[in-house]
């Protein structure tokens, strides 16, 4: 078996913040012992609320931030240090898409120029060939040569996100890390971009790490889903398995909060809000909000275990339920 395009092995990322000018340094575990792999040509959806560490995980995947522990591998090789020549070379193969296309584009440069720029940087072919390649990739995301002459503000929101996609795809990457790529778009535009991503994946064999809080979109696009809570992955498995039979109480609450999903009979209203990663609760970080928490949950941090093939859960109760079901068989 070939090594996957992206593999995170027990990566952690800590930040130190200070309380006041002379205060004690406070360590915040933004990402804590996360393992994840994106298989070639597949999409993994990374789901979580703000502060869950999903964006930090995406940034570590591309080497923007070095992990404090663990390792990030691409095709079995460690991702080089950010800024090094080897990293620059690798970045042509791994690209990032952000939420706000207007912020990601240079407001003063025509679209075609921006789409061609990665080829200029990586010195691919001659000038004429680069322009042709840029036009071809613009065409593949549904933009014409006339759009290439315009400035970002002259395009609509959906066209801008297409331009950002074209710029990312022009170096023919194998992996896209998309951080909330459709969250800022209107529903009808969002559908266009989601369809485009699905088409591009089918055509180019792209692997995608799709970071989003929108479970509907994630379901549409992902083969596997990882649910993060306060820096850790709490549930991981095939999309239909996770959304159809969620084992972790947090995943269950997230799914029940999807409006008009047709799934839930009764919405699970969680108490409180996601705590700050700087004040991580003891034991299972979810226990203060968990409707089913027991004494064990406050004391002991649950370990990620497989409840059935490929479906991993980090929850004392879910494991108990799965074991009991197993014993009865």
């Amino acid at each position: 078996m070939t090594d996957p395009i992206l593999q995170l092995n027990h990566v952690s990322r800590r930040y130190t913040s200070r309380q006041g000018l002379f205060g004690r340094g406070l360590t915040v575990h933004a990402v804590d012992d996360v393992s994840l792999s994106v298989g070639n040509g597949t999409t993994v959806g990374l789901v979580g609320e703000s502060g869950s560490g999903k964006s930090t995980t995406g940034r570590m995947a591309l080497g923007f931030e070095p992990p404090d522990d663990g390792e990030v591998l691409t095709h079995g090789q460690p991702v080089p240090r950010a800024g090094s020549p080897a990293w620059r070379k690798m970045r042509a193969n791994m690209q990032m898409i952000y939420q706000d296309p207007l912020a990601a584009l240079d407001r003063r440069l025509p679209i075609l120029h921006q789409v061609r720029e990665p080829l200029d940087i990586h010195a691919v072919g001659d000038a004429k060939g680069r322009t042709d390649a840029a036009l071809a990739v613009l065409n593949s995301v549904g933009l014409g040569a006339e759009h290439g002459l315009r400035l970002p503000h002259e395009l609509s929101g959906g066209q801008r996100q297409r331009a950002v996609l074209a710029r990312a795809l022009v170096t023919r990457p194998e992996l896209l890390v998309c951080d909330e790529p459709v969250s800022a778009l209107d529903v009808s535009i969002q559908a266009q971009v989601v369809n485009l991503l699905v088409d591009l994946q089918a055509r180019l064999g792209l692997s995608i790490l799709f970071i989003s809080h929108d479970l509907r979109v994630v379901r549409q696009i992902s083969h596997r889903i990882a649910v993060m809570y306060l820096g850790r992955i709490v549930e991981y498995g095939d999309t239909d398995r996770i959304l159809g039979a969620p084992a972790h109480p947090y995943t269950q609450a997230l799914i029940s909060a999807v409006p008009a999903s047709g799934f839930h009979r009764k919405r699970i209203l969680l108490k409180g809000e996601p705590p700050s990663p700087s004040a991580r609760p003891s034991g299972c970080a979810f226990h203060p909000r968990c409707p089913e928490a027991r004494a064990q949950c406050a004391a002991e941090s649950p370990v990620m275990r497989e409840v059935c093939d490929g479906h991993h859960v980090a929850c004392h109760l879910a494991i108990g339920v799965a074991n009991r079901a197993w014993e009865q068989t």
Partner: protein, 352 residues
């Protein structure tokens, strides 16, 4: 003239082609028009809200869903030309004196916005900001204001209310700040609360809490709520009646239970089809072709016609009026068809 619909509902001509009969409306917007620098963004909008009603307003960016309410409350900049009538229990608000509006804003109609952190003063304790509203609207002073502030914080579900009164906005989370905003909106005991995308900036689990809170408060206080959102799912679950806006006009006005099940207007159907489903097999998302037209270059007829899959020749000749298509259900579309069947998963959603 009586038109028989396949659904078996007969409608008499134009006389009944008005909004469903409501008890005396709390607020009535008549023929509201807004222009910015000669460009019209709201085109003769009509809307009624009954006392205690929960109305959802849904639309994409640029549909005028927020501008309508800013115009109604006189909150638009001076360069905006607003005409029409906004009647709060019969009293005209448009062009009313500043002192009249001050009696209305916050006191009888309150508004909350998407980003609570930018709506609050960052250098003032939230309790002080809330007390300010109580002093202004209810004339409460000192200890009485503080006691009432604490009661409101309890009402909106802020844990440890007494201590939270002394917190600054940055010490609270987004959801807690939105609860503070709701408490401030409730300070004047308004008859109508306009909530403009109140949960868009919040996490999903917190969004569920805030929507639940708005519903509970409406039941407890009997005030009417207008919930503005781009999210059809949120709207259909929370509201009893839904108004769909496109390019500064209402294109559909329907009880929420029909919204997901059998939308009438092609635009509403397009919006629903563009939303990924949450059950059943994955299918390619339907998209609405083209883009929202530039307000300065509006098509001569129906604003949706250039993107409409069911366009007919009449669509380009005149703007269709909002007319009753079935009992209590209005749509602005020349196609007088019966409610269309929708994919199974949506029907299932509506039952859940």
């Amino acid at each position: 003239m009586t038109t028989q619909f396949p659904g078996g509902i007969a409608v008499d001509g134009v006389a009944k082609a008005m909004a469903p009969p409501l008890a005396t409306p709390l607020l009535e917007i008549q023929n509201l028009t807004v222009e910015f620098d000669g460009v019209r963004t709201i085109h003769g909008l009509n809307l009624r809200i009954a006392p205690g009603e929960m109305l959802g307003v849904v639309g994409e960016s640029g549909s005028g869903k927020s501008v309508t309410w800013l115009a109604a409350l006189g909150l638009l900049p001076a360069k905006a030309a607003v005409s029409g009538r906004v009647l709060l229990q019969g009293e005209q608000l448009l062009g009313a004196s500043a002192s009249t509006l001050e009696q209305v804003r916050g006191r009888r109609i309150a508004m909350i916005f998407q980003d609570p952190a930018s709506a609050l003063n960052p250098v003032m304790r939230v309790g002080t900001q809330l007390s300010e509203a109580l002093v202004l609207h209810r004339g409460l002073q000192g200890a009485a204001a503080r006691a009432e502030a604490k009661r409101l914080f309890d009402l909106v579900g802020l844990p440890d209310a007494a201590a939270r009164l002394d917190a600054y906005p940055h010490e609270l989370s987004g959801g807690q700040n939105q609860r503070v905003m709701i408490a401030m909106a409730l300070a004047g005991e308004p008859d109508l609360l306009v909530a403009d995308e109140p949960t868009t900036a919040l996490d999903v689990t917190v969004q569920a809490q805030i929507l639940d809170l708005l519903g509970t408060i409406r039941e407890e206080t009997g005030m009417a709520v207008v919930l503005i959102s781009h999210d059809l799912g949120v709207i259909s679950e929370t509201c009893a009646r839904v108004v769909v806006m496109y390019c500064g006009r209402v294109v559909e006005d329907t009880p929420a239970e029909y919204l997901l099940d059998s939308p009438l207007h092609p635009y509403t159907r397009g919006l629903l089809a563009a939303l990924p489903s949450f059950a059943g097999p994955r299918r390619r998302l339907a998209t609405i072709e083209g883009q929202v037209p530039n307000p300065a270059l509006m098509p001569p007829g129906c604003a949706f016609a250039p993107r409409c899959p069911e366009r007919q020749w009449m669509c380009d000749t005149a703007v269709p009026a909002l007319a009753m298509k079935a009992r209590g259900r209005l749509a602005a579309c020349v196609a007088m068809q019966a409610p269309q069947a929708v994919p199974l998963h949506w029907r299932r959603s509506a039952q859940a």
